[in-house]
Amino acid sequence: MNSYIPTSLEEALKILFEHDCYILAGGTDLMVQNHRSSGLLPTFKKDVLFTSQIEGLDYIKVINNELHIGANTKYISMIESKFVPTMLKNVFVEIASPSIRNMATLTGNINNASPAADGTVPLILLDARLVLQSKDNKREISVDDYLIGFKKTDRKPNEMVTEIIVPLTDHKYLWRKVGSRKAESISKVTFLGAYKTSNNKISDFRIALGCVSIKPVRSKQVESKYIGLTIDELKNKKDEIVNDYNQLIEPVTDQRSNKEYKRKVAINLLKSFIDSIK
């Protein structure tokens, strides 16, 4: 097992071209997942590329009303940044604990591709995109398309995520993380609902639900059914909306909760979001 600590993106991409590596940023998932026993170093099954020394990947900037977040940017930097919208900050401050938020990156959260990830829920709701680079190529992909299954992403072994792009919006929203305690808690259900109104009509309507499927659940097709309705019309269709999402979600029982609870709470949160629309 080799460790690589590149200092430039070019060097990193060259290493990835030549070696199949874990890409380790903050290490808050990988160090735990590869932990062997107390008093021992973690045991990685393949080489590890550490991103922390790569220059130029730790930034937050706004270009054309879109937020650009460098892949090495830690949660704490986003929480403290004046460019990051409150919706994202409200999600980030509830992730893990201060010590984890000082180390962990949103890029890592996306690439870990856990169904219980909090960070991916607002990204999917906001149509965020990722920039992936390899030695000879650079491409953009939506976060929704990038997450392809349980702990699976569309990343090719020689690629790495270099930037997250989040369109900035002024939606009204409701965010709820339901965990098993008030801090250091892996979520049981997460809910993010957002809407815009104009002339008493719903001009945009978005729902993203975490922990209730292999990846965050969002359906633009379902959302489009309700865009254009008046607020009252939307509220009258509460049962239909509930029915739509009841069919989209497929929670499973695990060591943290059970599928009945996750479904019920997801639907309760959806209902309370609809009630809150004004």
Binding site: S37, G39, L40, R176, E260, Y261
Partner: protein, 696 residues
């Protein structure tokens, strides 16, 4: 005369622990120390047919039942747990052997390569095979024939609980000459000492147990270290090199002992006015694969089953069942949290049935000074429970809140629990089993040294025991030396358990110091060996469960206020108010440490901490899955003590360690019931369970 303690002293171990100088077991370095990793059974019940080892590199060993020196049994109260499983497997995770060698990583790899062939048998996971049955009654039985009484029955369940001590189990063994020497994370040095002597057949002076710094225990280090000691000593005899075994958190949660899960059925005969005339209580405890200390846990559960109440007639019985699961053992409260939860909930439910608000109903049954205990002993010492209740109500504004939150859709609730804890070993255990002896000696420079076998695992007894001796002798603090236990230097003053440290050992230390003071001659070497002498009124018959079960009782009242989120079924504990009678408070800050930690652990037991067993295996094995409250979950806590000095304790002190745990679970559940207007029958009352109740 009682000294006044308005201020608390700095704990003697503050500096060494805050600075990081304190050495815990895994911090102790030794040249050439080997690592040990356990080979565990992968089945719950069956026979070992064959053990196929990988080729062991030079310097690597496999230690198993074939290496037992004398007796393949771990000395615990009831000694049925083998040091290494020989032929029979009785639970998943049972130790079959150890791989010992220089590199822990290689040991782990070798453990993975051990192939064991089993003949599997059908495991028993349900409580159906009773190993211990106890049964006793009190009062006038004729009431059972009264045709005008209505029968009312309820059943309560409590789950596993994990101790979550900060420092995981760990032990280092080495030879000092020909003496087996042990340093370990422990509660009871002499338990480990005895277990090693027994399995090796060694005389007492060939084994030495020394206590390093210990990071938490909560009962979890009362018996399990005896098993590790017996295993590692067996390995040491063969290998003759220092060996260390330290559990990773996952191994610790997965395979060490937990609190006994329980099922309690309570039936009452109730008259037309709602008064309970007779009570029948049956407590079932899941002992797991071996009995160990479960009989004693069952005793305590049954003795505490009527809690702080008296009834005309009670019949109390219970069973400890053997199942093919991880053995259950000691945990703060030792059986009483299970049965006290049941009786508190039962009385709250009967009160609702007869429309009594709040605690009004249960107040009619409170025991008073001079009343008989559940086992026909006597509450001799002054009971001030009513004062505790008045104070707790006043502090929490209970009556107003209770009324306000009883309105529909309040989603807020307040609950109040009463509880007691018998201090010290059950019955005549202190005089007959433990027989504590404390050495205190003075050198010619008038420097006093005393020894106990009490472990300070964070609770502060090193500070308080020293203070008792310093204040009794009336000499400067730096003229008294009191170090951590070392079985070569101290006589046994018993285990650090059963809330006995201050009431029993503290009392003994005070007495020894007083005797030294009485014969004090400056400049002369003097020594006193002080034996424990119990109050002469203690008469106890374990077979019939009759008599005085404890030398003294500590009392408490907890008030817990909660809010409830009807969308997510989450409970938020808002605030707690606690009032305790622990006799006389020697050091109030140390007591507040016990009180805050105790109620938080009790709350966790009541509404948060889920440990499920599936196919003989725990489902929650890590700190991210086994949920204990964080500081963010901790409510604002208010704690008060009412002075009620106890004649036999040091400076009037009684026990406080376990008492502060017991009331949290019933208080929080009674509060949740008010918030959701439904009844709770099982803990933890987590959101999944509350949803089930509300959506039924």
């Amino acid at each position: 005369m009682l000294p006044e303690y308005k201020t608390s002293v700095k704990k003697v171990d503050n500096e060494e622990k805050m600075s990081g100088k304190a050495l815990f077991t895994d911090d102790i370095q030794m040249d050439g120390v080997l690592s040990a990793v356990t080979v565990r059974s992968k089945i719950s019940k069956g026979k070992i047919l064959n053990i196929k080892l990988p080729t062991l590199p030079e310097g690597y060993y496999f230690i198993s039942a074939k290496d037992i020196v004398k007796e393949n049994v771990c000395n615990i109260i009831f000694s049925d747990w083998p040091v290494f499983a020989d032929k029979e497997i009785n639970y998943k995770g049972e130790s079959i052997g150890l791989i010992v060698g220089e590199d822990k990583k290689i040991c782990l790899d070798l453990v993975d390569q051990v192939v064991i062939e089993y003949e599997e048998k059908e495991p028993v996971f349900d409580m159906k095979n009773s190993a211990i049955h106890k049964d006793f009654e009190k009062g006038d039985k004729s009431v059972l024939n009264d045709p005008n009484l209505e029968s009312y029955t309820e059943k309560f369940q409590t789950g596993y609980q994990e101790q979550v001590y900060l420092e995981t189990q760990g032990m280092l063994v080495y030879l000092d000459g020909d003496k087996i020497t042990v340093k370990a994370s422990m509660q009871c040095p002499f338990y480990i000492h005895k277990a090693i002597c027994r399995t090796l057949g060694y005389p007492e002076d060939k084994v030495r147990v020394i206590q390093p710094a210990v990071g938490g225990a909560f009962g979890g280090k009362e018996h399990y270290p005896s098993l590790m000691g017996a295993q590692l000593a067996t390995a040491l005899v063969k290998i003759k090199k220092p060996i260390k075994m330290v559990f990773d958190r996952k191994e610790d949660i997965s395979f060490t002992t937990k609190r006994h899960p329980s099922e309690t059925t309570i039936s009452a005969l109730i008259d037309k006015k709602g008064k309970i005339r007779a009570l029948d209580i049956h407590v079932s405890l899941d002992a797991g694969a071996y009995i160990g200390c479960s009989g004693v846990v069952l005793s305590r559960a049954l003795i505490a089953a009527t809690n702080t109440y008296k009834f005309d007639y009670v019949h109390i019985s219970g069973d400890a069942y053997i199942t093919n699961k991880i053995p259950s053992a000691a945990f703060r409260g030792f059986g009483s949290p299970q049965s006290i939860f049941a009786i508190e909930m039962f009385l709250a439910h009967v009160a609702k049935k007869f429309r009594y608000p709040g605690v009004l109903y249960k107040n009619q049954y409170l025991v008073e000074t001079g009343d008989t205990t559940s086992t026909n002993g006597k509450f001799r010492d002054k009971i001030i429970l009513k004062e505790l209740i008045v104070k707790a109500k006043e502090m929490s504004d209970y009556d107003r809140k209770e009324k306000e939150y009883s309105k529909p859709n309040s989603y807020r609730g307040i609950g109040m629990s009463y509880f007691l804890h018998g201090c010290g070993f059950t019955g005549s255990g202190e005089s007959d089993l433990i027989k504590a002896k404390l050495i205190i000696r003075k050198d010619k420079n008038d420097i006093v040294t005393f020894y106990t076998s009490q472990v300070d695992f964070g609770q502060g007894n090193r500070t308080t025991l020293k203070r008792i001796v310093v204040d009794t002798l009336g000499i400067p603090e730096d003229h008294v030396i009191y170090d951590a236990p070392d079985t070569d230097k101290t006589l046994s003053t018993g285990p650090t358990a059963a809330s006995r440290t201050i009431i029993i050992v503290g009392g003994l230390a005070a007495k020894a110091a007083q005797h030294l003071k009485d014969i004090w001659v400056s400049g002369k070497e003097q020594e006193i060996i002080e034996p424990y002498v119990g109050p002469d009124y203690i008469h106890w018959d374990e077979a019939t469960m009759q008599g005085d079960a404890y030398p003294g009782y500590a009392w408490g009242v907890n008030v817990v206020e909660v809010s409830f989120d009807p969308i997510t079924y989450e409970v938020h504990v808002e605030e707690t108010w606690s009032v305790y009678d622990v006799g006389h408070a020697i050091d109030e800050r140390i007591l507040v440490g016990q009180a805050d930690g105790g109620i938080l652990q009790g709350l966790g037991y009541g509404y948060l901490e889920v440990e499920e067993m599936a196919n003989g295996e725990f489902r929650q094995k890590t700190m991210s899955d086994y949920i204990v409250p964080t500081s963010m979950d901790a409510p604002k806590m208010h704690t008060a003590f009412i002075d009620n000095p106890f004649k036999y304790g040091a400076f009037g002190a009684k026990g406080a360690g376990e008492l502060t745990f017991v009331g949290g679970a019933p208080a929080v559940c009674i509060a949740i019931e008010q918030a959701i207007k439904e009844k709770i029958y099982k803990i933890p009352a987590n959101p999944e369970y509350l949803m089930e109740i509300l959506e039924k």
